[in-house]
């Protein structure tokens, strides 16, 4: 049975609670869990001050959190196993550095989701902040494996310096998607603002909507790469539909960013039904 934590007292300043992770809670008694330290601003307080903790029957390594957790940071940080399910919005650094297990949020999430993560799955059923799967400032690489799925919109610098793994953004993303990307795949179902793929070295950004392309990418060629089919099959169970059948359309491939010079790929979907006249607009000017 899962360990259930309900927010009892709303934090007035950020509450840093990296103990909200299966690794930190699974092997402890209820009393020990309630006594774990959280940081309410500069005050070190027991977890029990903020959360009612309950468990029915035998404990597994699954957590369920309830409440308005917008100010609660570092949920699922560096977790390696089990699951965290959140009913409500969460704050920054959700699943940062995580290596395994699953996080599911029924609500919005803040910046730095899955930053520098090594494995596992994060699924946010709502809008998200920036720097998803990114490298922290100065770090050479962001996420190195795992999957991050955002149903809603995303902020700046999604997948900044990511090395491997998959990020899917359901809604619109802001600028600098895949900034300095080194590998892995970003799927944009709702397009992105400016400068997608800026300074990318390697890796792939797939956009289903038209995308402004930087002038330092090579002009488009038409492709229908086989790996998109594989990716579509991987994402299908999550309810994500990635078009790839040749009769539906094809992808425009732009490679770059030549300013690096890099060998990354931007793939922009163009449905077959679209006429020649509008072709120019796909991936055209900003």
């Amino acid at each position: 049975m899962p360990i259930t934590l309900r927010l009892r007292r709303r934090p007035t300043v950020p509450l840093e609670a990296e103990v909200l992770s299966p690794d930190a809670l699974a092997d402890r008694s209820l009393a020990e869990i309630r006594a774990l330290t959280v940081y309410h601003g500069k005050r070190q307080l027991p977890l029990g001050e903020f959360f009612d903790v309950d468990v029915e029957g035998e404990r597994g390594d699954d957590l369920v959190l309830h409440g308005e957790l917008t100010k609660v940071r570092w949920i699922g940080r560096a977790m390696t196993r089990g699951s965290v399910t959140v009913h409500g919005p969460v704050g920054m650094h959700l699943g940062a550095h995580m290596a395994g297990g699953r996080i599911e949020v029924h609500g919005m999430a803040g910046d730095w989701i899955g930053a520098e993560m090594k494995g596992g799955l994060i699924h946010v059923h709502g809008d998200a902040g920036g720097q998803i799967g990114a490298a922290y400032r100065g770090s050479p690489r962001g996420m190195t494996d795992g999957t991050i799925l955002i149903d809603g919109s995303a902020g700046l610098e999604v997948g900044m310096r990511m090395r491997r793994g998959t990020i899917v953004i359901g809604g619109p993303a802001k600028s600098f998607v895949g900034l300095q990307m080194k590998g892995g795949t970003i799927v944009l179902l709702g397009g992105a603002e400016l400068r997608a793929g800026a300074w990318m070295n390697r890796g792939t950004i797939i956009s289903i909507e038209p995308l402004p392309i930087l002038p330092t990418f090579a002009p488009a060629t038409r492709v229908n790469p086989g790996f998109v089919g594989l990716l579509a099959r991987y994402l299908h169970p999550f309810g994500i539909r990635l078009p790839h059948a040749p009769e539906e359309g094809d992808y425009r491939l732009y490679s770059g960013d030549f300013s690096v010079p890099g060998k990354g790929e931007l793939l922009v979907w163009r449905p077959a039904a679209e006429g020649v006249a509008s072709r120019e607009s796909v991936g055209g000017g900003i």
Partner: protein, 545 residues
């Protein structure tokens, strides 16, 4: 007052090699013959050393501060010093913060450090940082060998004038001595060039060669009677085959005192990166034949670090080789510096040669009063890793174990496998304390004799030298217990050593117009006021008659 009884004392400055001896400290923090009362530390079964002295490190000033800003990723994976009621917070790592620098040095028993590269123009900044480094005593060396006002005097053959210029700069910087980095090469770098030949004129000059700068500057340091001789970073740092330059440099120094900085980086044979090999034997032979010369190893340890040097051309090359971050800061009229994070890997043949060369020099130079422990922090490795080097020096088996992990091809390029010397505790004490203190001319440091500063470190005897030297039982600084059982007890403010060499009274009038032409700061604002130095200790010079 304090007495330390029962410990085995290693005090090379007084030839004491492991004798059990009682040490007595008075209320002024000095060793004395006799005291009444006070605390007694029973050091029976323990080992007593003079506090460590780092002759060459980079812990304060614009360059290391630039490095700190460039490496936030390193600050997040390091030792955090948490604020307590009487201790400031800080971070360790490749470029530790100021408070942490003091805690880390003291934590392993080092009590005096020499910041080896200070641009006079930003000396005020360096001293402000040093003021925030607790516990240890400090000294600084002013960068001179690319100072264009000085070079112009040398080019014109105005030796007397040049000597006064140097003296003026030392006092302006409130420095303790003179550092020469890649003489002429940094000045050339400001045009994107380098100075690799000691006998070719440098960029921007008609006749002045690096060789002449070296000879003249060494003579100036001697004539001014500085306690520490010219501290020289030779030309051609890090380049395959640079042993020729280094030996040529040493010949230019015949007749003068000199300290050669981080000689590991200057002892390579071969003629390219593919053929680089250790030339430590040639360099060590020279030192063994010239007992007046001193050097520090600049040893390399495998792992991550950040390289910082006034050698801008080398740093640009390193940036191109690594493709990582690069910082560069040229300082008007005086010097420059480059900063590149770097990882030394055992699988990299060049790095493996560097690792071996540093150890070879320490092992092949026979007199530990000539070759000192250093990593040129942070260039070859961080200072808090010194205990690892001590273990490598003291234990040939451990050395062989480490060597076994290196690529097979390394064996033809190094001489380390042929060396079976193991340092004794006495020799370690000489190389980490008594030797560097003597080279620095700090007569009351690295010495447990009567009248000297009561800076000492007490270790629990341990077969694992790395463990023993990284966790002293007690560290005593100026008679005060600062570390006990690995915990920081007190954080007193150390002193700063400096000198006021004699100079021509008219030198201000001479400098002013040149200064106003070259610099962008007013002449009056340039010298650091003595009041700005916390606990200044002005040491005497012994100028030539």
């Amino acid at each position: 007052m304090m007495r330390i009884t029962g410990g085995r004392v290693y005090d090379p400055a007084n030839g004491i090699d492991g004798a059990v001896k009682e040490l007595r400290i008075d209320d002024h923090g000095r060793f004395v013959d006799a005291i009444e009362g006070g605390r007694t530390i029973d050091a029976t079964g323990m080992i007593v050393f003079p506090g460590g002295v780092d002759v060459h490190t980079h812990v304060a000033g614009g360059a290391i501060n630039f490095a700190r800003a460039m490496t936030p990723e390193d600050h997040r994976r390091t030792q955090a010093f948490i604020r307590t009621k009487n201790r400031r917070s800080g971070l360790g790592g490749m470029a530790p913060t100021t408070f942490a620098t003091g805690y880390l040095y003291a934590g392993m028993g080092w009590t005096t450090v020499n910041e080896a590269a200070v641009p006079v123009l930003s000396a005020r900044h360096t001293h402000e940082e040093l003021g925030d480094i607790p516990i240890v005593d400090k000294s600084t060396l002013a960068l001179m060998a690319n100072n264009e006002i000085l070079l112009d005097q040398l080019e014109a053959g105005e030796y007397e004038r040049a000597r006064s210029v140097v003296a003026w700069y030392i006092w302006a910087a409130k420095a303790y001595g003179v550092k020469a980095v890649n003489p002429g090469g940094v000045a050339a770098w400001k045009w994107g060039h380098d100075a690799k030949q000691l006998t070719s004129p440098i960029s921007g000059y008609d006749t002045l060669t690096p060789g002449r700068i070296i000879t003249q500057l060494a003579r100036i340091c001697d004539d001014l009677g500085l306690p520490h001789p010219m501290h020289l970073h030779c030309n051609n740092l890090g380049a395959p085959g640079n042993i020729a330059t280094t030996l040529d440099t040493l010949r230019h120094l015949e007749g003068s005192r000199a300290h050669i900085a981080h000689s590991q980086y200057h002892a390579y044979g071969g003629d390219g990166w593919d053929s680089i090999r250790s030339a430590s034997r040639q360099l060590a032979d020279y030192f063994n034949a010239h007992p007046g010369l001193t050097t520090d190893a600049g040893a390399v340890l495998f792992g991550d670090t950040v390289t910082i040097t006034a050698d801008g051309p080398w740093q640009h090359l390193l940036y191109k080789l690594t493709g990582r971050k690069w910082g560069n800061l040229d300082v008007e009229n005086e010097t420059g510096c480059g900063i590149v994070p770097y990882t030394y890997r055992p699988s990299n043949l060049v790095n493996a040669v560097q690792w071996a060369t540093g150890l070879e020099l320490l092992l092949l130079i026979r007199d530990p009063f000539q070759a000192f422990l250093s990593t040129d922090h942070p260039n070859g490795g961080c200072f808090w890793r010194y205990p690892e080097i001590i273990k490598l020096l003291m234990c040939a088996d451990f050395r062989n174990e480490c060597m076994a992990k290196l690529p097979e091809a390394i064996r033809r390029r190094i001489v380390l496998p042929e060396i079976d010397r193991e340092y004794t505790l006495y020799e370690i004490a000489a190389s980490m304390s008594a030797g560097p203190a003597r080279a620095l001319g700090l007569s009351k440091k690295g010495n447990l004799g009567i009248g000297c500063d009561a800076d000492l470190v007490i270790y629990d005897a341990d077969d694992d030298a790395a463990r023993m030297f990284s966790r002293p039982r007690y560290v005593i600084k100026g008679g005060e217990i600062v570390i006990e059982d690995g915990e920081i007890r007190e954080t007193p403010q150390g002193r700063e050593f400096l000198v006021r060499p004699p100079c021509d009274p008219d030198i201000d009038a001479f400098m002013r117009p040149l200064f106003e032409d070259r610099y962008t700061m007013s002449f009056e604002n340039y010298p650091v006021e003595i009041e700005r130095i916390e606990h200044a200790d002005v040491r005497p010079c012994a100028p030539a008659p």
